[in-house]
């Protein structure tokens, strides 16, 4: 009977390992091929737009990415007056489950469907051709099959490196130990973009400052839903001497806030203004947040559908069009620092400063 237990453990371990092999997103190929996509005809929606939001791991209530998408949905709801529906994702789900969720929405008559998070790239690519009159969007998405473009899919991406650059400046001006840290949820090109921008911002401000970085998971998307991992990662960086830590780890970031709170140091939030959703004990430790206006992109996409011109192909939201930004809630950034950051911001918008996308 020992074999029984052993087999069971192996099954469990295999599940853990296999899920680790899951979605390694390759965002490299999001290089603007917007030109060729212009040839697409706008999708003809049948009847009024009916909006559905399919969430990523972490789901609504993550005080971050998914909540921002929901905020965009809410804003559009207020403006256009529709019901809309939402679908939650669970942390271990397979490609098939995501595809089923999308098909379920489409079959129920929803014709404006937003996949929140890059994990939907493959499933949307598969499902979209089956529903030519439905307009899909993948936030942070990329087209896995470059040669075979789906005209009814919009990929809403962000210049995260630019926003991260700005909070990197804030970190460099705030650190006293000349060491700042970065915690990423999953080590994929998308999250590396945050690290690259952050590092560049720190280096531009003061090349003597060291940036130490770590990732919670190598490829398992559960790195975005593991606060214990976030706390351990942040404590490790604090042991390395970091006194300002920027996280791009979704719901795991709450653990990063816990770590800096008990060590009385600084953290930098991500995606939404995390000062506003943090607990009262954590608030005095959230220096700023790198804003990724998922709400703007979600709203823009829905609004375009209501205007009868659904988006298609890649749309990048940058500093120039308020797609990324930084927050000042809590008033921890001094006036001088804000001036300095805004100066860099202008340089990036004007194209005088090029922010790398790979660390």
């Amino acid at each position: 009977m020992r074999h029984l237990t052993k087999a069971a453990v192996l099954v469990g371990a295999a599940a853990v390992v296999l899920s680790a092999c899951g979605t390694a997103a390759d965002n490299d190929d999001s290089d603007n091929n917007a030109d060729e996509q212009q040839q697409c005809e706008a999708v003809e929606l049948e009847g009024d737009p009916q909006v559905a939001l399919a969430y990523d791991v972490g789901g609504r209530g993550d005080q971050s990415f998914n909540d921002a998408a929901y905020a965009g949905l809410e804003k559009a709801q207020g403006e256009f007056g529709f019901d809309g529906t939402e679908g939650e994702a669970s942390s271990d789900e397979s490609e098939e489950v995501r595809e089923q969720r999308l098909r379920g929405f489409a079959d129920d008559g929803y014709n404006v469907i937003v996949g929140v998070g890059f994990a939907y790239s493959d499933s949307v690519d598969k499902v979209a051709p089956e529903y030519p009159n439905v307009s899909f969007a993948v936030i942070d998405g990329f087209d896995p099959t470059e040669d075979d473009v789906n005209c009814n899919v919009a990929y809403l991406t962000f210049a995260e490196n630019e926003g991260s650059f700005l909070v990197g400046v804030a970190a460099a001006e705030t650190t006293e130990s000349d060491t700042v840290g970065f915690v990423g949820g999953v080590n994929n090109p998308l999250i590396q973009k945050f690290e690259a921008g952050f590092k560049a911002g720190v280096e531009e401000t003061n090349p003597d400052i060291e940036v130490v970085s770590t990732y919670i998971e190598e490829s398992d998307p559960r790195g975005f839903g593991d606060p214990a991992g976030g706390q351990a990662a942040a404590e490790g960086l604090i042991n390395d001497g970091a006194d300002v830590i920027f996280h791009a780890a979704g719901a795991s970031g709450i653990g990063v806030f816990d770590a800096v709170t008990s060590a009385d140091l600084w953290a930098i939030g991500v995606d939404s203004d995390q000062y506003l959703t943090a607990s009262p004990e954590q608030q005095p430790h959230i220096l700023t947040s790198m804003l990724k206006r998922v709400d703007v992109s979600t709203y823009d996409f829905i609004a375009a559908a209501f205007d009868g011109e659904p988006l298609s192909g890649y749309t990048e939201f940058t500093l120039a069009d308020d797609g990324v930004d930084y927050s000042t809630s809590g008033d921890f950034l001094s006036g001088d620092l804000i001036t300095e950051i805004d100066d860099y911001k202008q340089q990036i918008i004007d194209g005088d400063l090029e922010v790398p996308t790979e660390p």
Partner: protein
């Protein structure tokens, strides 16, 4: 397996040998640290991370131990742990830190009761019931969070933060003195001091409880009549029945306690390893707990040792620039395995010794071939270690004889 009653002298000799082995391992670790100049291997910070990462695994492993000692395979630990995370958040929000701990234990025990109902009363296959509990646990926690946490302060449909957690204590003099010694990077002394500083700095009361439960489990299961009867249900329920033991009752008690332990592990995750609740935050630690139980040979101290090892692997996989550190650990593993192979050879187990030595040589060659282990591997360390250990130690493991076997009342006839 027959076990002869050891004479006091033999017992003393075994203890003596254990200490020698522990000392040899310590010296090896320290040597490798000094040779590779990877001081982070034993800094208080790293060891503290390892301890915190180890505790949920330890509690799940002890939970598994309780169930399997009574003959029930509890693969539902992961699900019971998940229930525990929710229970900790919900009850801590309403009744304070220790209310949360009790609530987590109760929720886990509920999962255990469900497993007991399925396997003991209805005779469902243990694996099937356990897998079902994992799925139900995930679903139930998602539903419960959505139902209760939306209106709470700091809550959302999938998370809750800002509730009370058990206190952390720092032992004043010892902590700072040990920290100072560990910073001197002396051979052996600093490594031990690092461990002391790691456990005396910001030590959560829940961590102390977890470590006490190891001793408690060992005492109850091996030193009390209750424990003897419980274990007899795992070794030979028919024989226990003929001697008047209510096997069903003992199995129920064991599996409920097992669930309670897993629930406590969930509380640890949601209160010490982090101080917030997120649905599905166990991240496979229940399965690792089960693996630590097997590696620990269904034995509390074994579970403690193996979960510390898994915790260490987990902890260093999160450190920044850990490539060189993991690289140094390759060397450490190679040396330790070589030592183990030598031990086997002395006992005349030639084939095993050769296989283990072969693995050690491969590791050593790998160590020489690269300067740094790519980060993809560091994340896999806990799982590779599990496979490793199962491969190397499998022959020495002995599970309870009737573990996982169906038992119906009256079979003894």
């Amino acid at each position: 397996m027959t076990r002869t009653i050891a004479s006091p002298a033999a017992v003393r000799q075994v203890r003596y040998l254990t200490w020698i082995v522990v000392l040899a391992v310590l010296i090896t670790v320290s040597l490798v640290r000094v040779l590779t100049d990877q001081n982070r291997m034993t800094t208080p910070g790293t060891l503290r991370l390892a301890l915190i990462a180890a505790c949920p695994i330890l509690l799940a492993g002890l939970g598994g131990l309780w169930a399997e000692r009574a003959g029930i395979v509890n693969i539902g630990l992961e699900g019971q742990m998940l229930l525990g995370t929710w229970g900790a958040a919900f009850f801590a929000y309403h009744f304070g830190a220790w209310g949360g701990v009790l609530g987590a234990i109760a929720m886990g025990a509920l999962g255990g009761l469900l497993h007991g109902l399925a396997t003991v009363t209805f005779g469902v296959d243990h694996i099937i019931s356990g897998v079902a509990i994992n799925i139900v646990g995930l679903g139930a926690v998602g539903y419960l969070a959505q139902t209760f946490f939306i209106g709470y302060e700091g809550g959302g449909p999938r998370n809750l933060s800002g509730y009370a957690v058990p206190r952390e204590i720092t032992i004043p003099g010892i902590s700072s003195a040990a920290r100072w010694v560990s910073e001197q990077r002396w051979f052996l002394v600093s490594d031990v001091a690092g461990a002391i500083a790691g456990v005396t700095t910001r030590l959560s009361l829940l961590t102390i409880l977890a470590l006490l439960l190891v001793a408690f489990t060992a005492w109850v299961l091996w030193r009390t009549p209750f424990g003897l009867r419980l274990r007899s249900c795992g070794e030979s329920p028919q024989a226990a029945e003929t001697l008047g033991v209510n096997v069903y009752l003992y199995k129920y008690i064991a599996v409920i306690i097992s669930g309670g332990f897993a629930g406590l592990g969930g509380a640890y995750l949601a209160m010490v390893a982090s101080s917030s609740f997120t649905t599905g935050q166990t991240n496979g630690r229940g399965y690792i707990g089960l693996a630590s139980m097997i590696f620990g040979n269904w034995n509390p101290t074994g579970v403690l040792a193996s979960s510390l090892m898994f915790g260490y692997a987990d902890g260093i996989s999160l450190l920044s620039n850990n490539g060189p550190l993991v690289h140094a650990i390759l060397l450490l593993l190679a040396v330790l395995l070589l030592g183990y192979a030598a031990l086997k050879l002395r006992r005349g187990e030639r084939v095993t010794a050769i296989v283990i030595a072969g693995i050690a040589v491969v590791l050593f060659a790998w160590y020489l071939a690269v300067d740094s282990v790519p980060s993809d591997f560091t994340g896999m360390t806990p799982y590779i270690l599990t496979l490793f250990v199962l491969a190397v130690a499998a022959q020495r493991l002995r599970m309870p004889a009737a573990d996982g076997k169906p038992y119906r009342k009256g079979q003894a006839g």
